[in-house]
């Protein structure tokens, strides 16, 4: 009986198609991409060996530094925003709305399913100033403020990008964290309440420590996604005005397909990959330590 489930040939046959597609289209390109970093050129004009030139260029490239900075700033702000707002939503669902939360949860979750391009076009109009005032500027004017040209400079455009991505994904993180919160045993909460803990103190000393594991995984998911942001920025500002809202991902795209510099593009992509790995390992390590210390779940 062990024989049949241990049939190596069958295992190979079942595994082969997936492994072949995955290797040819993901693993090999990763290796080739690493190789590209010591070349310059593109698919049409051919490649030329340039040694470590791309890395030297990266160190002195002010625009790459700006892109790196934007990526990190975006990842930090949006990750904090997504997880904090999501956590507040999940607390609202569990302790505020209780059983009635299903309808609200369903509605607030919806934007994550919407196409990013559609959301971006919607936000362009919500925040537009001319020739027609969007809702946000109309509201500002209504409260006696001055309408803002949101996409006129990098700083305010960044605000819109951050608001948009938090708006899109807060319901998603709300549901993700909600799943963690409803797992907290009822008797633990009950005894804490009998001891007089309520409101903020209950959250701070009981709920927060107990939901730490799911909170940490949310942060990892979120930062892993925000570091790779492309669609929302591309559709909302295309990295503009100028390159002021251009993250590393858009720089890669620009260098490769606008300037035909696959080598330098790959170098930027490698930088991004390394950052993703470091951040994930860092957070994962940190969470492991905390888990063994507190030992909940």
């Amino acid at each position: 009986m062990k024989n049949i489930l241990g049939d190596r040939r069958a295992a190979f046959v079942l595994l082969a198609p997936a492994l072949a597609v995955y290797s040819v289209i993901m693993l090999v390109p990763v290796v080739v991409s690493l190789g590209y970093t010591v070349f310059e050129g593109n698919a049409i004009s051919g490649f030329e060996f340039v040694g470590i030139d791309n890395f030297v260029r990266l160190i002195g490239d002010a625009r790459a530094h700006q892109a790196l900075l934007f990526t990190l700033k975006y990842a930090l702000v949006v990750t904090i925003g997504q997880v904090v707002v999501g956590y507040m939503l999940s607390l609202l669902y569990v302790f505020g709305l209780k059983r009635a939360s299903s309808v609200v949860r369903t509605l607030v979750f919806f934007p994550i399913v919407m196409p990013t391009v559609a959301v971006a076009l919607l936000f362009q109009q919500l925040f537009s100033i001319a020739p027609t005032e969007g809702v946000v500027n109309s509201m500002l004017a209504g409260f006696g403020g001055v309408p803002v040209d949101w996409f006129g400079d990098g700083g305010s455009a960044f605000v819109v990008i951050a608001i948009m991505d938090i708006w899109r994904s807060m319901g998603f993180y709300g549901v993700l964290l909600y799943a963690g919160l409803v797992d907290i045993p009822e008797d633990v909460l009950e005894s804490a309440r009998l001891d007089g803990a309520s409101g903020w103190r209950l959250v701070r000393h009981i709920v927060l420590p107990l939901s730490l594991p799911v909170l940490i995984s949310s942060i990892i998911f979120s930062i892993n996604g925000t570091l790779k942001v492309f669609d929302s920025v591309m559709a909302l500002t295309s990295g503009g005005p100028g390159t002021s809202t251009s993250p590393l991902t858009i720089s890669v795209f620009d260098h490769a397909f606008t300037y035909g510099e696959y080598g330098y593009g790959s170098t930027l992509a490698m930088l991004l990959t390394i950052i993703c790995l470091i951040v994930t390992i860092f957070i994962f390590r940190g969470s492991r330590r905390d888990l063994t210390k507190d030992g909940p779940r």
Binding site: D7, M26, V30, L97, P115, S138, E186, M234, L272
Partner: protein, 302 residues
């Protein structure tokens, strides 16, 4: 005061615990819940109003956009904007391009991915743990890392100019998450099921198609749904490989409405976005439970 509060607290979050029935003073209770209702109302406006504004905008004329205040209702309910959007953006052919790449990619990804997960989780052989890790590593790789070599490869093999690059890239990039999730689901099935099937004389392939796949129906549905949204809403891969007007997918076609180019025709823009959003809303309303469950399970992809 203190006692009413603690008894009220006892009844909170009663998703599982028994609910104590305590008579409460309604007016006090209602007053205390006021902040909650304000919070919920604000939340519903923040999420709902942009969508309603979008829908209303899709019926307005260019003149209304420029002259009327932005919260005004449309003066007539005509579907003219929808017809214009459909024609000028070529949404019909874009929809066709999206469907003809996403559906086959989903099918191949699910079939191959489930077979691989079956081989890695149910079958017993040396080195299967390592192969599973190789698949998992793919979840971390940013798409930018593979796009440039793929672009060269598709160019050299002459696939550029067709929808094959999109189909292949989707199938492959969906593979790690599919293998990972399906392996998780297979782990939950008792081994006795397959041992019994073996005793009944079923071959491995028979077991895969007649036992494993039917048992995985829910898992397949969930994973398929998650990946459908990833593929359908993808911009990066389709912008890279299907940028010509003939190959345009829905998202690339929509991107061309971007106000950065020329005078914006607001009505058709709102109509095109509405088509995209509200078509998905219908799917979402029908399947929202599975979608919420699936997307949060697929969160590992980030």
């Amino acid at each position: 005061m203190n006692t009413t509060q603690s008894t009220r607290m006892l009844t909170t979050s009663g998703s599982r615990g028994q609910r104590l029935r305590v008579p409460r003073r309604r007016s006090v209770n209602r007053f205390r819940r006021l902040p909650l209702w304000i919070a919920v109302t604000v939340l519903l406006i923040v999420v709902g109003y942009p969508l309603i504004w979008l829908l209303l905008g899709s019926f307005k004329s260019q003149r209304e956009f420029l002259e009327e205040p932005t919260w005004a209702l449309p003066q007539q309910w005509s579907f003219e904007n929808y017809a214009t959007a459909w024609e000028t953006a070529g949404l019909g052919s874009a929809l066709f391009n999206s469907a003809i790449t996403v559906v086959p990619a989903l099918f191949c990804m699910l079939l191959f991915g489930t077979a691989a997960a079956f081989a890695l989780e149910v079958l017993v052989w040396k080195g299967r743990g390592a192969v599973l890790m190789i698949f998992l590593a793919g979840i971390m790789v940013p798409a930018q890392m593979i796009l440039l070599p793929l672009f060269s490869a598709y160019f050299q093999t002459g696939l550029t100019g067709s929808l094959w690059p999109l189909f292949l890239t989707y199938t492959a990039t969906g593979m790690p998450l599919t293998v990972f999730l399906m392996a998780t689901y297979f782990r939950a099935i008792p081994r006795e099921v397959f041992e019994a099937a073996t005793l009944d004389g079923a071959s491995i392939y028979r077991q895969f198609f007649s036992v494993a796949v039917p048992m995985m129906k829910n898992g397949l549905f969930t994973v398929g749904l998650v990946q459908f949204f990833f593929f359908w809403n993808d911009l990066l891969i389709s912008l890279t490989f299907a940028n010509s007007s003939k190959l345009r997918t829905l998202q690339v076609a929509l991107l061309n409405f971007n106000g950065n180019f020329g005078t914006t025709q607001y009505g058709p823009l709102f109509a095109a976005v509405s088509i995209n959003v509200f078509a998905l809303l219908i799917i979402y309303l029908l399947l929202n439970q599975s979608i919420q469950k699936g997307l949060t399970a697929g969160a590992v992809k980030g």
